[in-house]
């Protein structure tokens, strides 16, 4: 059972546009949703995270919108820059206190100038 799903698989946007990445999850008890980004030949790094007490989390040009009822969230990258080109992973804490993260399949974002 795929606990975390992402779409689209890949996304190309022009510099300055808004990129929208989608994520959905299975279990309504999940309570921590980090997004990681990974550049080629690099390890993943935390970009931004949200907990269900909020329906929006903003950090600069990156915003998470969270819909608990539909078990969906999205990452918006406004004013996209070529340096944002990376693979973005939605993750969910599926391990409770152990902190085990389950990752989605990733969305490869390419920003062209």
């Amino acid at each position: 059972q795929q606990q975390v799903r992402q779409s689209p698989q890949s996304l190309t946007v022009w510099e300055g546009e808004t990129a929208i990445l989608n994520c959905s999850y299975e279990d309504s008890t999940f309570d921590y949703f980090p997004w990681y980004w990974q550049f080629p030949r690099e390890s993943p790094a935390l970009l931004i995270a949200i907990r269900p007490v909020s329906n929006k989390k903003e950090d600069g040009r990156f915003t998470i919108f969270f819909n608990k009822r539909e078990k969906k969230l999205s990452l918006h990258i406004t004013d996209s820059q070529p340096g944002d080109s990376a693979t973005y992973f939605c993750a969910v804490n599926t391990g409770g206190l152990s902190g085990k993260l389950t990752f989605g399949e990733g969305t490869q974002v390419t920003v062209i100038s």
Binding site: P34, S43, A45, A49, G95, G99, K100, T102, F103, G106
Partner: protein, 114 residues
């Protein structure tokens, strides 16, 4: 920047050989994770520890994978008898506590089984 140190960065093994990789978590982080990332970028959680104790692990019934985090020594992940399907990037990560905190990843050990 992550201060999780993984060695070696690259590892090439023949089928049936042992493969061992090590990880030094960020100082002060008691929780250590191991993930496998395959060529399709899919992550697979393997095991995590708090100090020396296992918190959670996948069913390693194949018994080919083993891991430990001894006190005052690097953590390690070992594959007893490597198979071609084990070729992947093995990522070690650490955090201050298990749940709902930032997890910092090391640069990984890329294992190729030939």
């Amino acid at each position: 920047n992550s201060k999780v140190i993984q060695t070696p960065r690259y590892l090439v093994k023949g089928q049936g050989q042992k493969a061992k990789m090590r990880c030094i978590p960020e100082k002060g982080h008691p929780v250590v994770f191991w993930y496998q990332q395959n060529k399709n970028n899919e992550f697979k959680f393997l095991i995590n520890f708090q100090n020396q104790e296992v918190l959670q692990q996948i069913d390693m019934t194949e018994k080919r994978f083993s891991a430990e985090c001894p006190s005052n020594s690097p953590c390690s992940l070992e594959i007893q008898s490597s198979e071609a399907g084990d070729s992947a990037l093995y990522l070690c990560a650490s955090s201050l506590q298990g749940a709902n905190t930032e997890v910092f990843f090391g640069k990984g050990t890329r294992l190729t089984v030939v």
